[in-house]
């Protein structure tokens, strides 16, 4: 509110195509350009000595990639996998990573006019993981900053190899 121009700029940067998915009843979006593919849930091998949001590793056609439990990352209660549970494979530079989500919804075009900057909700809600909020059709969709999720300190710490 205080700085109208920069908010408008931010919103413009947010416009584009997003893959939306559910965690519980909440809907989230990932910029489609970051998504490599979506696969059904496969057996995950837990890896000892990693943070608990790091669910383990999977075999992606012969390549081993780590998988993050987004619920655990956001501090939401864990849930057993259902038929709808999916792994969204995202890529950032040479880093490939799976994200476990409850269900994939659709690919939407998010217009700049329909977005807001992330609100400071205070408390334990980690606003840093989000680019902004889409409010199209009167529904709230949180736009995920995937780079941020992959590069938050804990992951950086881990990828120092």
């Amino acid at each position: 509110m205080s700085s109208q121009i920069s908010t408008a700029d931010q919103s413009a940067a947010l416009s584009g195509k997003y893959l939306t998915f559910f965690l519980g009843s909440e809907e989230y979006g990932i910029a489609i350009l970051k998504v490599r593919e979506i696969i059904g849930i496969v057996p995950v091998t837990p890896v000892p000595g990693t943070p608990s949001f790091m669910q383990g590793v999977i075999n992606l056609r012969g390549k081993i990639i780590p998988v993050i439990d987004l619920r655990a990352k956001f501090g939401m209660p864990t849930q057993a996998a259902t038929r709808e549970t999916c792994i969204i494979v995202v890529r950032r530079l040479d880093l490939e990573l799976g994200i476990v989500v409850d269900a994939v919804s659709e690919v939407r075009n998010v217009a700049a006019a329909e977005t807001d900057a992330m609100l400071d909700l205070g408390g334990e809600i980690s606003a840093e993981y989000f680019l902004g909020i889409s409010k199209a059709d009167g529904k709230v969709r949180l736009l995920l900053d995937i780079d941020r999720i992959l590069s938050t300190e804990d992951v950086i710490e881990l990828s120092r190899r």
Partner: protein
């Protein structure tokens, strides 16, 4: 400043930039730039170096010629003007005329530049540069790879030439190397490389045309040329990486020598005129060179120096008994020359790895299909025939794709030839280097890791293993020592044997040294083999006099570490007075690990078989606890610590009673320990893979592998597993009692 003809004053850099953008017919723009140059020339008279003024004036003259239509080719004149201006912008690249040196004539330079723009190899005077100001990184990268290959080939060929100076194929290989480097580097503006290669090429051209023989001084000059080329290439890649690299030391000196090789030859071979060097090559060579005919069958002439043309022309025919087993160096070079015709494609390794991954997947997918009950139950002969046929193809494909990563050991061995030669020369010994099986292939990724220890060991063998010539004669041995390197396949591994016929390891001296350094208990009786193993301890060195070649007490421990890193082993056999054999056994490829699959709860882990000493089900009496925390196991009178894998990895539902589980005894370089698992599921070769960049370094896990059912199994790293276990034991008491109350997945800390 006197007249404001140009709207604003331009500096040389801007002028150069504008000149580059201008074309030869833009008279107006060029006139303006010419005036700007004139202005610069006027001003620089007082401030800048005189050479700058000359360059600027020459550039202006070029433009004058162009504008007045006097210059024959306008484009060329413009190009020359651009280069002159560029040179002027970096005066430090221009040698300031030193005292006593004649001043360079810059109008000559301009003429030369014109010539250079026509014929590719630009040999402009001035300081040669490693990289041009605006390097084409893609092209240079490709060129570097190519140049390095040429250097390797040329080096091998030169060593052949030492033996057979009239080997035309080898001369051509060396010539081609310099020629290619010259051509491409001058095209890319890497003048330092171009100049060096140019002069070396001229020398080689004379050798090729039979004018001179590649012996003695000329051969040394060629080898030094290759060395310098290597160093210069290294400097270029350093600069490409953004480091501050300089021309290698001795660059100017060697280039001068290459320009006038006859002077050096004359000096060394007085009174024999160099043109007739062919008639007396051994005499022409400096005495040092004669003393070290590595792998040269002509070792005998050194004892009976009869530098006749006959011996020189056919050194191979000289009676050298020890040279009989294999014409060591000659063959690889000849092969390399022949192999150069085979067409090949360069492929990026990550693509190759991906292909191998996919083939691995295909194998798994196929075995799942073959094992599917519907395939088996149907008992349809037609179907099972088809599945079987597909299986054959898949297996062949797998073998094929694994072989793509394999490269022969030949280049590695060739480097060693050179090392033996140098050591022999330095220490004034006669050493013959024989290598066999250099076409044995190992995984590309292992080559670099194994090269380092091999260099070290070969150097050791030549320097310490082989006795001095006098000592050898006194011991009644042939004066020429032999260092032999043999590579071969044996039972799914590659074995590299390094043997020498020197004095052998001195058991008593090793023991005395180890005792003196406190590395071993003096009262303990040790077997020969145990004593030999002592040389692998860090900080161990028995040699009395440290030479500049080896013997600083760093080394053998690194050798062992490198070999163990490759999951290999090294063994020593030695006989006093007869020699020593180091036997290195390596897996064929790093990608495949021979693993034991163990189960803990519902998880499966892979333990590299090479780390497993044994496994057994312990009797209750064998296990005891220490101060209520640590557990030890008594095994054949020896106490070893026992760790529970389910505790370390916090796996639920595992066997907790030691007597119902199984203890796997792990051994690594330091010691052994027991690891409690539920059961063994079997042995399997697995393809080791990284767990992915995002997960980072995981303690006690070296990677993952895709198991037969398509799931990922973690490969344990015994070394860090033990470290982890010890840490967990010392860090805090094992929370055995408290553990069940903690939920299996302790919730994350999402603290905003």
């Amino acid at each position: 400043m006197n007249k404001q003809a140009t709207p604003q004053k331009l500096d040389l850099g801007e002028i150069a930039a504008r000149l580059m953008q201008a074309s030869a017919d833009e008279i107006e723009a060029l006139t303006e730039l010419r005036d700007a140059l004139g202005q610069c020339a006027d001003e620089s008279g007082s401030t800048a170096a005189p050479s700058v003024k000359k360059l600027v004036t020459a550039a202006k003259a070029k433009l004058d010629g162009l504008l007045s239509g006097e210059a024959g080719d306008a484009e060329q004149a413009l190009a020359a003007a651009i280069r002159l201006t560029c040179l002027a912008t970096s005066p430090e690249a221009v040698p300031s005329p030193a005292v006593g040196e004649p001043e360079l004539d810059w109008s000559e330079e301009a003429a030369m530049l014109e010539a250079a723009s026509v014929s590719a190899p630009s040999l402009r005077p001035g300081k040669p540069t490693l990289l041009p100001a605006d390097p084409d990184l893609d092209l240079i990268g490709e060129f570097m790879t190519e140049a390095n290959e040429h250097v390797v080939n040329a080096e091998a060929a030169l060593l052949t030439l030492e033996e057979r100076p009239d080997d035309a194929a080898a001369v051509n290989t060396v010539f081609r190397a310099f020629h290619t480097v010259k051509g491409v580097s001058s095209m890319l503006g890497m003048t330092a490389l171009a100049e060096l290669a140019h002069h070396a090429e001229s020398l080689l051209a004379r050798i090729r045309d039979g004018e001179i023989q590649c012996t003695g001084v000329y051969a040394n000059l060629c080898l030094r040329g290759i060395d310098l080329l290597k160093e210069t290439l290294a400097a270029v890649s350093a600069q490409l990486k953004g480091q501050d690299a300089k021309l290698p030391t001795g660059y100017a000196e060697l280039v001068r020598e290459l320009q006038n090789p006859d002077a050096a030859a004359q000096q060394a071979a007085l009174p024999a005129p160099p043109a007739f060097a062919a008639t007396a090559p051994v005499a022409a060579a400096a005495p040092v060179a004669v003393a070290a005919p590595v792998a040269v069958a002509a070792a005998v002439p050194a004892l009976t120096p009869t530098p006749t043309a006959a011996v020189a022309a056919a050194p191979v025919s000289a009676p050298a008994p020890a040279a009989a087993p294999a014409p060591a160096v000659a063959r690889p070079a000849a092969d390399a020359a022949a192999g150069g015709d085979e067409s090949s494609v360069r492929v990026r390794t990550d693509r190759l790895d991906r292909l191998i991954d996919m083939v691995g997947e295909l194998v798994i997918a196929h075995s799942m299909l073959a094992a599917d009950p519907r395939t088996e139950v149907s008992r349809d002969p037609e179907l099972s025939r088809k599945v079987g046929h597909a299986g054959k193809i898949v297996r062949e494909l797998q073998d094929m794709s694994m072989s793509l990563r394999m490269v022969p050991l030949r280049p590695t061995f060739q480097k060693l030839t050179r090392i033996v030669r140098d050591v022999a020369k330095k220490s004034d010994k006669l050493i013959q280097f024989v290598s066999t099986g250099d076409d044995t292939e190992i995984d590309r990724n292992m080559v670099d890791v194994i090269a380092e220890p091999l260099i070290h060991m070969v150097r050791n063998a030549a320097d310490h293993g082989i006795e001095s010539t006098a000592a050898r004669i006194a011991a009644g041995k042939s004066p020429t020592g032999t260092v032999r390197l043999a590579a071969y396949h044996s039972g799914g591994s590659v074995v590299i044997d390094l043997s020498d016929d020197g004095g052998g390891l001195d058991r008593d001296r090793i023991l005395a040294k180890a005792t003196q350094k406190g590395l071993v208990d003096a009262n303990k009786s040790l077997s020969d083999n145990e004593i030999y193993q002592l040389i692998f301890l860090p900080g161990f060195s028995t040699t009395e006099n440290v030479t500049d070649i080896s013997g600083r007490g760093v080394g053998m421990d690194v050798v062992r570490r490198n070999i163990e890193q490759l999951k290999g082993r090294i063994e020593i056999t030695s006989e006093r007075g007869k020699g020593t054999v180091f036997s290195i056994r390596l897996p064929l490829t790093l990608a495949i690990t021979d693993g034991m699959i163990v189960r803990v709860g519902s998880e499966r882990y892979i333990i590299p078989t090479v780390n497993i000493a044994m496994n057994f089900r312990p009797e209750p009496s064998q296990v005891s606890t220490v101060v209520g925390r640590g557990e030890v196991i008594l095994l054949r009178g020896e106490l070893i610590p026992l760790f529970r894998l389910h505790q370390l990895f916090k796996v639920d539902g595992a066997v907790t009673e030691t007597t119902r589980g199984l203890v796997v005894v792990l051994r690594d370089g330091v010691g052994s320990c027991g690891l409690l698992v539920d059961e063994l599921l079997g042995q399997q070769q697995v393809v080791a893979k990284s767990l992915g960049a995002g997960i980072g370094k995981v303690p006690a896990v070296s990677g993952g592998a895709i198991l037969g059912d398509g799931r990922v199994g973690l490969i344990l790293d015994p070394g860090s597993l033990v470290a982890l276990a010890k840490e967990s034991r010392t860090g805090r008491p094992q929370p055995e009692a408290a553990r069940p109350s903690i939920s299996p997945q302790p919730q994350t800390m999402v603290q905003a």
